[in-house]
Symmetry: C2
Subunit: 220 residues, 2 copies
């Protein structure tokens, strides 16, 4: 091996372009943001299902797969990692914790985008600054158009009326604190790529709007 180090130790990473050449679509991050109950997950799910039918390779990052692993709460880390570790790296719902939550999700979405997948994320992601930070990173590391911010614009009253997980009720009763829309702010995007009217149209109709947008963008 030592005889020809230039050859054996030369690194030529597989590029995003090479990965994408295996597919008929391009990597991107479709970032759904909106209040709890606005319809983010449902719409993202329908988008993903329709992309699957078209043989588009996707991945959906949401609370279900992120909150049990990468962004676990302190209580979930404590057993295996101990108290100090869990307190430092476990994520709750303070502003700082939310910021790190979105930072990690953004970093992972960026990796999936590099891998050539149509990456969907469905998180409240209430703070404008945190979302813009993800956009900034993707703009720097990737290509123009990689970050597609989709604002699921459903009024608080509608979300609270739906209350699919009973969270608004608990927040109003004071059982949950720092709940977005109740005692924590939601900052709508100023210039999202797409705004969905979550009160008037069905999730299926909204998912079709997203698909059309991705078609027009040339991502699928």
């Amino acid at each position: 091996m030592e005889e020809k180090p230039q050859v054996t130790w030369h690194q030529h990473n597989v590029s995003r372009e090479e990965r994408e050449a295996l597919k008929t679509h391009q990597g991107c991050v479709v970032w759904f943001t909106g209040l709890s109950g606005s319809g983010k997950s449902t719409i993202a799910n329908l988008v993903e299902r329709q992309l699957l039918k078209r043989s588009v390779h996707t991945f959906l990052l949401d609370g279900d797969n992120v909150r049990h692993g990468l962004n676990a709460a302190p209580g979930m880390l404590e057993e295996h990692y101990g108290h100090d570790f869990a307190r430092r790296f476990g994520l709750g719902f303070s502003a700082e914790d939310r910021e790190e939550n979105i930072r990690r999700i953004g970093s992972v979405a960026e990796l999936f985008c590099q891998a050539g997948l149509v990456t969907l994320t469905a998180f409240v992601s209430p703070y404008r600054r945190d979302r813009d930070e993800v956009r900034l990173r993707l703009d720097k590391a990737g290509r123009q158009g990689d970050f597609v911010e989709v604002y699921v614009d459903t009024p608080l009253a509608v979300c609270e009326n739906r209350d699919p997980k009973g969270l608004y009720k608990r927040a109003r009763a004071g059982e949950i604190q720092h709940f977005t829309g109740i005692d924590d702010p939601y900052e709508p995007p100023l210039a999202p790529e797409l705004t969905l009217d979550g009160a008037e149209l069905t999730p299926l109709e909204l998912s079709e709007q997203v698909l059309r947008f991705l078609e027009n963008l040339g991502k699928i």
Copy 2:
């Protein structure tokens, strides 16, 4: 929408099996571990390149794409996120920081595995406990055989002689602390799926051993 909530709000996530049906291979995590300079990245890279030729969809997690984003050092986070945030979430090289480094990488590798990709990781990952934790999670969340631990067994003297990045020299001079093999321990796997003789064979030969292993496992 409210008229038929069962239909519109029903969630049926796209499954790993559905994703994999788009491909001719299965998700897994090929976890390379070994000393700095042992050949992990080079071999992982060659494996990835050969998988690309076979149209296998891969992703390589390594220092290059993880240390600039997800697992950034405190100094890299400070500008955008402030001092306290950077100190809490930024990762250095203490035992706790390394532990969190591997925990995050393991969690992300798990997501890529779920997405159906042959996921390669190339990190020193010196502590047995941290690697076993990743194995445990993958065994629980995925399928038998998802975690393939590849020990790149290259003696310290050989790695130090290669010293491709001049790090051993700096560690010996006391310019770098907590350097694995010098003043921080490396704990070899007790029962890795594969051990590669990094001193005697070329990276290309070793990468072929990995490919054969994945073939026999039915992953590719």
